[in-house]
């Protein structure tokens, strides 16, 4: 059974059909790319998958469960986490606290326990700290744990966003243009990080990207989107050499 199965997904904003008849199947452990020209509807699909938008048609199955139309918070609990095209860290919180917000649902204790500082509070907070530090160490951010998130350099902010998303314990990780605004060296390092995340956490990853070097370097399969519809899909090299795809990007 596929980890993610999307069938006939569609959404209209008023008269505009932003996404139409979108199908996508991703197997456990795959590194999958979603590409397409600007305005093709890639981010809209991420918003549909995470419940920010409710689809007008179709359904989304994650690991055999139908998550169509569920609330964002619930979908996150079911196992989809994401990063953002323009970084959306909690910039006033520390690096450590950003990851701890991601851990929110995995370490339950009530607000009253927090106010009264019962022994459980100290125990759980300690566990959260250890888990968060472990994650930060994986991304080489452990020394910056007490920094304000906004004081990190750009590349590290991207890494922190991935760490925060992983803290929510997802089955599927969505990366929205992870290489946006990076120089070639940073992109190289990012490719390593993404591969590492997949291997180390046995993660399934779906990413949107414009940087073709990154896409052809790490994605195993691709879906190309154009004007809200699937143009083609398949193995990365085959797709990138497809005349239809080249035409969509460069014009006829």
């Amino acid at each position: 059974m596929a980890l993610l199965e999307v069938k006939n997904l569609g959404i209209s904003f008023g008269g505009l059909r932003a996404v139409d008849d979108f199908n996508l199947t991703i197997e456990q452990g795959e590194l999958y790319g979603l590409i397409g020209p600007n305005g093709a509807g890639k981010t809209t699909i991420f918003n549909l998958l995470t419940g920010v938008y409710k689809p007008t048609d179709g359904y989304i199955m994650l690991d055999g469960e139908n998550i169509t139309g569920k609330k964002t918070t619930e979908i996150n609990r079911h196992g989809i986490a994401r990063t953002f095209q323009n970084i959306r860290l909690f910039s006033e919180l520390s690096v450590l606290d950003n990851v701890k917000v991601g851990l929110h649902n995995h370490y339950p204790y009530s607000a009253l326990t927090g106010i009264l500082r019962l022994p459980k509070y100290f125990r759980v907070e300690k566990e959260m700290n250890e888990k968060a530090m472990e994650l930060l160490k994986v991304f080489g951010l452990d020394k910056e744990a007490d920094y304000k998130a906004s004081n990190l350099p750009y590349g590290q902010q991207r890494k922190l966003e991935i760490a925060r998303a992983l803290a929510t314990g997802p089955k599927l990780l969505l990366l929205d243009e992870p290489a946006a605004g990076m120089n070639p060296n940073e992109t190289q390092e990012l490719m390593k990080t993404i591969r590492f995340v997949r291997d180390e956490f046995h993660m399934t990853i779906l990413l949107i990207e414009h940087d073709m070097k990154l896409v052809s370097g790490i994605c195993e399969r691709l879906t190309v989107l154009n004007f809200g519809q699937v143009l083609t899909e398949g193995e990365t090299t085959a797709v990138l050499h497809d005349p239809k795809v080249i035409a969509a990007y460069l014009g006829e």
Partner: protein, 294 residues
């Protein structure tokens, strides 16, 4: 000199009450991005609950205060659930007008139950006053309790926000509720919790206020509520230490203004201070300058 110091002490005491109320304003504003103008009336309800349970039913003051805190917590959550939650996606103006409506609603409910006559509130504090400087200066038990309560609440709230899971969720929602939601934080329950905490504080503020100034009517909460809002703006709305500093300063300015300038003009002075602060520093004393990125 002794006169000045005792005015100062009175000012800090009144300011502490403003600070506790302002904390409720500032938390709700910071997290739900709305001005809850019904907050002042929750104070009044809190005071009436203590009036009914202690003066009416004869329960011990501590029990009365606890009942009041629980009642106001539930009231605050109910107000949020019934009046504000359906408007989460509505315009700010709609929410603001609803808040004013809730304020009048609470006042009129109190008017129906208790009538318009001024009730005399029996202080819940039974600590002996401290006499200093051979009787020239007396610090009342209410003052001592108010100031200590304010400091404890302030420190407790700041550590709660910084070091607990629920507090972190509140900070995350306040910064970017969309991203917080996508990280699995339930925004609705976080906002409900903010109202619960703010309203619990309002109950305490109501009891402390009426213990120091023992007259109670359905309109008792409205003026302190507005002044606490001024204090929150003064300190920088959204900032917890700002609410504390703003509240204390406002109380001191009000009492000193009453003592040395004119007791009739005291309120005018308070609002004049607000106008001046907003002219000089529009974000308030501890408010953050929002930098627009271009």
């Amino acid at each position: 000199m002794i006169g000045f110091i005792s005015y100062l002490v009175n000012g800090i005491s009144l300011g502490s009450v403003y600070a506790i109320i302002a904390l409720g304003y500032t938390m709700v504003y910071g997290i739900a991005k709305m001005l809850n103008f019904a907050h002042g009336d929750v104070i009044m309800i809190g005071a009436f609950v203590v009036f009914s349970t202690v003066s009416g039913a004869g329960l011990p003051p501590v029990v009365g205060v606890l009942i009041s805190v629980v009642a106001c917590t539930l009231l605050g959550m109910a107000i949020e659930r019934i009046a504000y939650k359906p408007l989460r996606k509505a315009s700010k103006l709609a929410v603001l007008i609803t808040a004013i409506g809730v304020s009048y609603f609470l006042q009129n409910v109190a008017l129906l139950i208790y009538g318009a006559n001024t009730k005399s509130f029996t202080s819940v504090v039974s600590i002996e006053p401290i006499t200093l400087a051979d009787g020239a200066m007396v610090i009342s038990g209410e003052t001592i309790v108010t100031v200590i309560a304010c400091i404890i609440i302030m420190i407790g709230l700041m550590t709660f926000m910084k070091y607990s899971k629920a507090g972190r969720a509140m900070l995350a929602v306040s910064e970017d509720s969309g991203a917080a939601q996508l990280m699995g934080v339930n925004v609705n329950s976080t906002i409900a919790m903010t109202f619960a905490i703010g309203s619990a504080l309002a109950a305490i503020a109501g009891v402390l206020l009426c213990s120091s100034y023992p007259s109670l009517t359905p309109y008792t909460g409205s003026m302190p509520g507005i002044k606490a809002f001024v204090a929150a703006v003064f300190g920088g709305i959204g900032s917890i230490p700002g609410a504390f500093i703003g509240g204390i300063l406002l109380g001191v300015i009000e009492i000193l203004g009453k003592a040395y300038i004119s007791s009739q003009l005291a309120d005018a002075i308070v609002f004049a201070v607000l106008i001046i602060v907003l002219l000089v520093k529009p974000t308030g004393l501890l408010g953050k300058q929002i930098q627009e990125k271009v």
